[in-house]
């Protein structure tokens, strides 16, 4: 199991109406590692990310084909339940989006949705809350004001909270869509540090526009261009000795 890829996609194609955004994606994402998705705007990296929790599908005009296997199951098979899928595949967004409820309720939101009423207890909730907030280093700062509105926190804390609220669900994969693009450099550094710390436990996929960030944070990197994967390799290899000229041009800033 440990060596098996966490996500395997075979010939994934996706259309927004008439426009084909993904043109046959074959990708193996290593378990327990951080994989960066890079490429210029419109290359399909965010679209691909959103295939993994099937959040693209809220639009009726999106059509997806091909096979996309997570932990051995094709997540586009008819028996797949979206609620179960999203429990296992969490997502962090570009702009921190804590829910307009208390810090405590934010962290426990998913946990409560997926725990039967009979099994819920104040004690179990307190434990889940403390453990999740400790994992993102917010416990000491926030433990005395867990009843405050999460939307009033600083952006860095909001984004960490958005990561924390995934943890009680024990996801196997966390998708991050430019998680630091709304943060200042200091906050970015802290969130990156957090991402590095929680890696290992989860498979993390991170979309980023920021080359330096991809280099700092990811173990492996995938370079995409107009709906296709150009190159996929260990981050240091891809940045130091790219195999494809287009990769080299992009990371050196010749386009994009």
């Amino acid at each position: 199991m440990a060596n098996q890829a966490s996500i395997e996609t075979r010939d994934v194609r996706l259309w927004y109406g008439e426009f084909q955004a993904l043109k046959g994606i074959d990708l193996d994402v290593s378990r327990g590692r951080i994989t960066g998705l890079i490429g210029p705007s419109g290359c399909g990296k965010t679209t691909l990310l959103r295939c993994f929790n099937r959040i693209n599908e809220r639009y009726d005009y999106v059509r997806t084909e091909g096979s996309l296997i997570i932990d051995g199951h094709n997540i586009y098979a008819p028996d797949v339940d979206l609620i179960e899928l999203r429990k296992r595949v969490g997502m962090v967004f570009q702009r921190p989006n804590p829910l307009p409820i208390s810090i405590r309720d934010n962290v426990l939101y998913g946990y409560r949705l997926h725990t039967p009423k009979a099994e819920r207890s104040r004690g179990a909730e307190d434990e889940a809350l403390e453990s999740a907030l400790k994992s993102v280093q917010l416990w000491d700062i926030l433990k005395d004001r867990l009843g405050d509105r999460a939307t009033r926190l600083q952006l860095e804390q909001q984004q960490k909270l958005c990561i924390a609220r995934l943890l009680p669900l024990k996801p196997s994969i966390i998708l991050m869509d430019e998680p630091c693009s709304a943060l200042d450099p200091d906050a970015t550094a802290k969130v990156e540090e957090l991402i590095r710390q929680i890696a290992g436990e989860f498979t993390i996929l991170i979309v980023t526009h920021n080359m330096a960030q991809a280099r700092r944070v990811s173990d492996e990197c995938v370079f995409m261009l107009i709906g296709e994967i150009v190159e996929h390799g260990r981050t240091e290899d891809l940045f130091i000795a790219p195999k494809d000229q287009r990769t080299a041009d992009y990371i050196e800033g010749r386009f994009g």
Binding site: G90, N97, P100, Y109, L113
Partner: protein
């Protein structure tokens, strides 16, 4: 440094900038006057009603039935009738309108059927109330056999207020940021769980405001109830929705135009009571909105 005709090196105003400033002042003045004019009729109406009608407002006027061919007594049955009508129409229109609004904003797919439904709602909102009245007679009084009754009149009012309730519900829901829905969905919440836990608590003030504004509109309408359930004069209070009732708007019409020898103050006093009722509803709505808004922050 000399300042020639074409050379202008400091930041002082030129004839052209002066012209911009004066045009801006004129525009601002006109916009301000228009706003002031808006308030004028409101105060004029209230002033007229108070000066002409206040003298007739007594405990007897508010708490007794009309007597002597409506030339004496009070308007108590009409007040009670109006409360019946808005109560029953609200009980019908609010749940249906809110549920339809939720469906249209949260579930309905983006396709031509939805667009047609939305178009129909907009058009329904523009149908004149007298047309609703005729529809009410045809559909509720005659076809469904409900007779002229509080039920028929309230259903007619409900049909009339529904489109606006739906529209304001949709608007209130749409004002909740999509990012909250994304957060909830990606944590594995169903659409309904997201609506119930996140969307509704943050839009309830807008939804209720829309509903209450429609209640006050229903309270003032005359045409839709005239042929469907409101009576000129009833010596008794309604006991059930199958009875007819008097209503303030209808009574105002009656004492203003249909009955001779009504004391001059009576129509004004009736209008004053109706207006007070409507304004009370509106203030209640504003208060509720302020209260619920203060609790929500993002």
């Amino acid at each position: 440094m000399s300042r020639g005709e074409t050379e202008h090196t400091d930041f002082s105003a030129t004839p052209m900038t002066e012209a911009s400033h004066s045009r801006q002042k004129i525009a601002r003045a006109f916009l301000g006057i228009a706003t002031a004019l808006l308030l004028l009729p409101l105060f004029a109406i209230i002033g007229l009603l108070v000066t002409h009608g206040m003298s007739a407002i007594t405990a007897e006027f508010l708490l007794e039935a009309p007597t002597a061919g409506m030339t004496a007594g009070g308007i108590y049955p009409a007040i009670i009738g109006t409360l019946w009508l808005i109560g029953v129409s609200l009980a019908v229109a609010a749940p249906i309108g809110i549920m339809a609004g939720i469906y249209l904003n949260e579930y309905a797919p983006e396709n031509w059927v939805t667009r047609m439904i939305n178009l129909a709602i907009v058009n329904l909102a523009g149908v004149p109330s007298i047309v609703h009245a005729l529809f009410g007679v045809g559909a509720f009084v005659l076809f469904l056999g409900l007779g002229t009754s509080i039920l028929s009149a309230s259903l007619t009012l409900a049909v009339m207020t529904l489109p606006v309730i739906i529209a304001s519900t949709k608007e209130a829901l749409a004002s909740v940021p999509v990012a909250f829905r994304h957060a909830s969905w990606t944590l594995g919440a169903s659409r309904w769980q997201t609506i119930w836990h996140i969307v509704l608590p943050n839009s309830v003030s807008g939804i209720l405001t829309g509903v209450i504004l429609q209640v006050s509109r229903a309270a003032g309408e005359t045409a839709p109830i005239m042929f469907t359930g409101a009576a000129f004069y009833l010596p008794f209070l309604p006991q059930s929705v199958q009875d007819q009732c008097m209503a303030l708007s209808m009574h105002l019409f009656t004492v203003s135009t249909q009955v001779p020898n009504v004391p001059e103050a009576f129509p004004y006093a009736t209008a004053l009571v109706l207006l007070t009722l409507v304004v009370t509803f509106n203030f209640f709505s504003i208060g509720l909105r302020t209260y619920l808004r203060a609790r929500r922050k993002w």
